[in-house]
C-alpha cells in the first residue's frame, strides 16, 4: 500500500509502510534513519586522536592497537545490539499481534502476543525530559480481572514516530481488532 514519510520525536525522518495481506491481516513497518557516515567518521577520528595523544605521552604502541580493537568491537556491538533498522507490527485477526525489531546487522527479535491476551491498542502520552511524547502501546488483559490491565507493551521505541504516524497505525490496528468484537459465533475465552 505504499510508503509515506513522517518525522520521529527527535526530528529524524522515518518512513511508514503499510501492507494488507488479507482482510484480517495487516503489516505496518516503520523504518528508522540509517547510520550516518559522517557521525561514524567523527566518532572514529575522535577515538583515534585521543589514542594518538596517549601514545605520544606514554610511548607505548599498545595504545594504538587497543584503540583499533575498541573501535572495531564497539562498531560490531553497536550494529548488532543497539542500532535498530526497522520496527514492524503484524496484526493477524483472531491469531495475535507480532512485534519485530530488525537490527542493522540483520538480527531480528520477535515477540508474538496472542489475541486472547490483547485487551486494546492505545496511544499514550509520556513526559520524557522536557518533552511530551506520544507512543503506541498494547494493553494486555489481566487473566484474573476482566477490567484490569496486567502489562503495557510499548511499540516503536527506537524510531519514536510522531502523532500523525501513530494515528495511521492506530486506525489500521483498530480496524482489525473491531472484527473480533463483531464475530458472532465466537464463544470467546475471557
Amino acid at each position: 500500500m505504499g510508503e509515506r514519510r513522517y518525522r520521529s520525536a527527535s526530528g529524524a525522518p522515518v518512513a511508514l509502510r503499510r501492507r494488507q495481506h488479507s482482510a484480517s491481516c495487516r503489516e505496518l513497518a516503520v523504518r528508522c534513519p540509517r547510520l550516518q557516515l559522517r557521525s561514524l567518521s567523527a566518532v572514529t577520528s575522535a577515538v583515534w586522536l585521543a589514542a594518538y595523544g596517549l601514545f605520544v605521552l606514554s610511548e607505548n604502541s599498545m595504545v594504538l592497537s587497543a584503540a583499533i580493537f575498541i573501535t572495531l568491537f564497539g562498531l560490531i556491538i553497536y550494529l548488532h545490539f543497539v542500532k535498530v533498522d526497522q520496527e514492524s507490527l503484524l496484526v493477524i485477526g483472531s491469531l495475535g499481534i507480532q512485534v519485530t525489531s530488525s537490527y542493522a546487522s540483520g538480527r531480528e527479535s520477535t515477540t508474538f502476543i496472542e489475541m486472547g491476551q490483547v485487551k486494546d491498542v492505545v496511544i499514550n502520552e509520556a513526559i520524557h525530559m522536557q518533552k511530551v511524547i506520544y507512543y503506541l502501546c498494547i494493553l494486555l488483559q489481566d487473566p484474573g480481572d476482566p477490567q484490569g490491565v496486567s502489562e503495557v507493551v510499548p511499540l516503536f521505541q527506537s524510531s519514536k514516530p510522531r502523532l500523525d504516524c501513530l494515528i495511521e497505525v492506530y486506525k489500521s490496528c483498530q480496524e482489525i481488532l473491531e472484527q473480533r468484537k463483531t464475530a458472532p459465533q465466537s464463544s470467546g475465552i475471557k
Binding site: 491481516c25 491469531l95 496472542e114
Partner: protein, 549 residues
C-alpha cells in the same frame, strides 16, 4: 469467525486422502496431524482413531479431505471427497486441494448445520511437525510464578503444541509397516532411531543400580557413629570441602535414581546435573595432570613455609611498632604491653606449629591434590580451606581486636549523651589503629575466600545441559512462536509459516538454575563492609541452613 488450519509442512507433497487431527472448537482451529491415503475401509479408520484416542487422550478425528492432483481438476474426485463428508460426519468438513505444483491451495469448508451460510475467512498456517513435537513451550516468567490456572486456557498455541506432543504414538508407524491404514506424517519415510541412544539406554539400567548400591554404602559410612563425635562433627561442618562433597553426593543420588523424570523440569534438572558433573570431573583431571608434572607440588610446598615466615615477621614488626610510640601518639603503656605480648605469643605458637609440620607438607599436599580428580569445584574448595587454615591466627587477632573495638563503640555510644565535649579517649586510639591495620589483611583474605566461593557457586548452579541445548537444538526450548507471511494470491486463503522462537539465554539460566548451598547473595558485600566498620564479627564459613549467631 476466522477458521485456522494448522497444516504440517511434511504433508505438502502427500497423495490424496483424508485429513486426521484435532478440532479445537473454542478457538475455531483445526490441527492436522496426518493424511490417510486411499484405499481404506472407513470402519477400520474409525477403529484405529478410537484406539489412538484411548492411548493418547487426545480427541483425534477425521477433519476433512486433501486432494493433490497432478493434472487438471477432476470433477468426479471432488464429488467423491464431498461424499466422504457424509461417512465421517464432522462439522465443519474442511476440503483442501492442490493443483500440480502450485503454491496456492484452495481451501473450503462444508457446513451442513450452520445458521449463517456466509463464507468465513480461512488462514492456513504451516508448521514443522518434528520441531513442534520436540519443543517445550515456556510460559512467560511472570505468569509462571502466579497460581492462575486460567492462564493456561487463554493460550491457544499451547493447545496446538500439546496436541502434537501427545500424539507421538500416531507417528510411530511408517510406510514400511503392513497395516490397513497408510499414513503420511513427518516420520512416515522411516522411523528415526539412533543406535548409540538405544545402547546407552540398555546400559544405563545396570549402571544406575551399581551406582545406587555404591552410594548407599558411602552414605552409610558417612552416617556412622564414629564420625559423629563432637570435635569431628564440628570440623566437618566448618570445612567447605565436606559441604561440597556432600552436595555432589546428593547430586549423584538424584541421577542414579530408578524413577523416570515426571515432567520437563525434573528431566532438565537431571540432565543438567549429569553434564555439570561430567565437565567438573574432566576439568579436575585436567588440573591434576597439569599439577603433577614437573614437580609443581614440590615447588608449592617449598614456597609455602618461607611465605608463612615472612608474614609472621611482618606481623611481629607491626606489633613492636605499636607497642612503642606509633606516629608519635601517647598510648596507655600497660594495655599496650599486655595486648602486644599476647598477640606476639600467638604468632610464636603459630610459627612453631608450621615449622613442626614442614617436613610433612609436601606429602600432605601430594595426597590432597589427588582429590582434585573428584572435580574442579572440590579442588577450589580445598584451596579455600587451606587459605582459611593458614590465616587462622590472623583471624584470631581480628576477633580479639574487633570484640574490644565493638565494646568500646557500645560504651562510647551510651556515654556520648552524658559526656559531650570530653577529651578523646586514648585507649580507644590504641585499639582503633590496631584493628584498622589488621582489617586490611583480613579484608584481603575475606575477599579472596569470597571470590573462590563465588566461583564454586557459579560452577555449581550453572545449567550447562540447558545452555548447550539452547545453542545446538534451539527449537527444544521455546519462548513462543513467530509467524512469517508467505506469498499471497487473491481469492486464496492467507498463508502463514509458524516458526519456533527460542528462549533467551538469560531466561534459560533463570528457569533451570540448580540450587546451591552457600549464602553469598548479591547484597552481602555491602553488609560485609558495614559489619567491618561496626565491629560485628564476620564468620567466613557460615553456610545456608545453619542458625545465624
Amino acid at each position: 469467525m476466522v477458521l485456522k488450519v494448522f497444516f504440517p509442512s511434511c504433508c505438502s507433497s502427500a497423495e490424496s486422502g483424508i485429513l486426521i487431527g484435532r478440532w479445537i472448537s473454542e478457538q475455531n482451529s483445526a490441527v492436522i496431524l496426518a493424511v490417510v491415503h486411499f484405499p481404506f475401509i472407513p470402519v477400520q479408520v474409525k477403529q484405529y482413531l478410537s484406539e489412538v484416542q484411548r492411548v493418547t487422550k487426545v480427541s483425534v478425528s477425521v477433519l476433512g479431505s486433501w486432494s493433490n492432483s497432478k493434472q487438471e481438476k477432476e470433477e468426479s474426485l471432488s464429488e467423491f471427497l464431498e461424499d466422504l463428508g457424509t461417512i465421517f460426519s464432522h462439522e465443519p468438513w474442511i476440503q483442501i486441494s492442490k493443483e500440480g505444483d502450485s503454491k496456492f491451495w484452495s481451501c473450503s469448508t462444508l457446513q451442513k448445520h450452520s445458521n449463517n451460510p456466509k463464507e468465513e475467512e480461512i488462514i492456513l498456517v504451516y508448521y514443522d511437525q518434528r520441531k513442534v513435537m520436540l519443543s517445550h513451550l515456556h510460559p512467560p516468567l511472570a505468569t509462571a510464578t502466579s497460581t492462575d490456572h486460567k492462564a493456561d486456557d487463554a493460550s491457544k498455541l499451547s493447545a496446538v503444541f500439546d496436541t502434537v506432543a501427545k500424539s507421538k504414538i500416531l507417528f510411530m508407524t511408517d510406510r514400511y509397516d503392513d497395516g490397513p491404514i497408510k499414513l503420511t506424517h513427518w516420520q512416515s519415510d522411516g522411523v528415526e532411531a539412533s543406535i548409540i541412544v538405544e545402547l546407552m539406554k540398555q546400559a544405563s539400567v545396570p549402571a544406575c543400580m551399581l551406582l545406587t548400591f555404591l552410594l548407599s554404602l558411602i552414605s552409610g559410612i558417612c552416617r556412622s557413629r564414629v564420625l559423629k563425635f563432637w570435635p569431628l562433627s564440628f570440623l566437618w561442618s566448618k570445612l567447605s570441602t565436606c559441604e561440597q562433597l556432600g552436595h555432589r553426593l546428593q547430586h549423584l543420588q538424584v541421577i542414579s535414581s530408578n524413577k523416570k523424570a515426571q515432567n520437563q523440569t525434573q528431566l532438565m534438572r537431571k540432565a543438567n546435573i549429569f553434564v555439570s558433573l561430567l565437565i567438573d570431573v574432566a576439568l579436575g583431571i585436567l588440573l591434576m595432570s597439569w599439577l603433577y608434572r614437573k614437580n609443581r607440588i614440590g615447588h608449592l610446598a617449598d614456597t609455602l613455609i618461607p611465605v608463612a615466615d615472612h608474614v609472621a615477621e611482618e606481623l611481629q614488626d607491626l606489633l613492636q611498632w605499636l607497642m612503642g610510640a606509633p606516629a608519635g601518639l601517647k598510648m596507655n603503656r600497660a594495655l599496650d604491653q599486655v595486648l602486644g605480648r599476647f598477640f606476639l605469643y600467638h604468632i610464636h605458637l603459630w610459627i612453631s606449629y608450621i615449622h613442626l609440620m614442614s617436613p610433612f607438607i609436601e606429602m600432605i599436599l601430594w595426597y590432597v591434590g589427588l582429590s582434585a580428580c573428584l572435580g574442579l569445584t572440590v579442588a577450589l574448595c580445598i584451596l579455600s580451606d587451606i587459605i582459611a587454615l593458614l590465616t587462622f591466627h590472623i583471624y584470631c587477632f581480628y576477633v580479639y581486636g574487633a570484640r574490644l573495638y565493638c565494646l568500646k563503640i557500645y560504651g562510647l555510644s551510651s556515654l556520648w549523651r552524658l559526656f559531650r565535649g570530653k577529651k578523646w579517649n586514648v585507649l580507644r586510639q590504641r585499639v582503633d589503629s590496631c584493628s584498622y591495620d589488621l582489617d586490611q589483611l583480613r579484608l584481603l583474605v575475606v575477599i579472596v575466600q569470597g571470590l573462590i566461593h563465588l566461583l564454586v557457586d557459579l560452577i555449581d548452579s550453572l545449567p550447562l545441559y540447558s545452555i548447550i541445548l539452547r545453542l545446538c537444538r534451539s527449537y527444544r526450548l521455546a519462548a513462543g512462536v513467530k509467524f512469517r507471511v508467505l506469498e499471497q494470491q487473491d481469492g486464496k486463503p492467507l498463508r502463514l509459516l509458524m516458526q519456533i522462537n527460542p528462549l533467551s539465554y538469560g531466561s534459560v539460566i533463570q528457569t533451570y538454575r540448580l540450587p546451591t548451598y552457600s549464602c553469598y547473595p548479591k547484597d552481602s558485600w555491602t553488609s560485609l563492609c558495614k559489619k567491618l566498620f561496626l565491629g560485628e564479627l564476620i564468620y567466613p564459613w557460615k553456610h545456608k541452613g545453619e542458625k545465624q549467631d
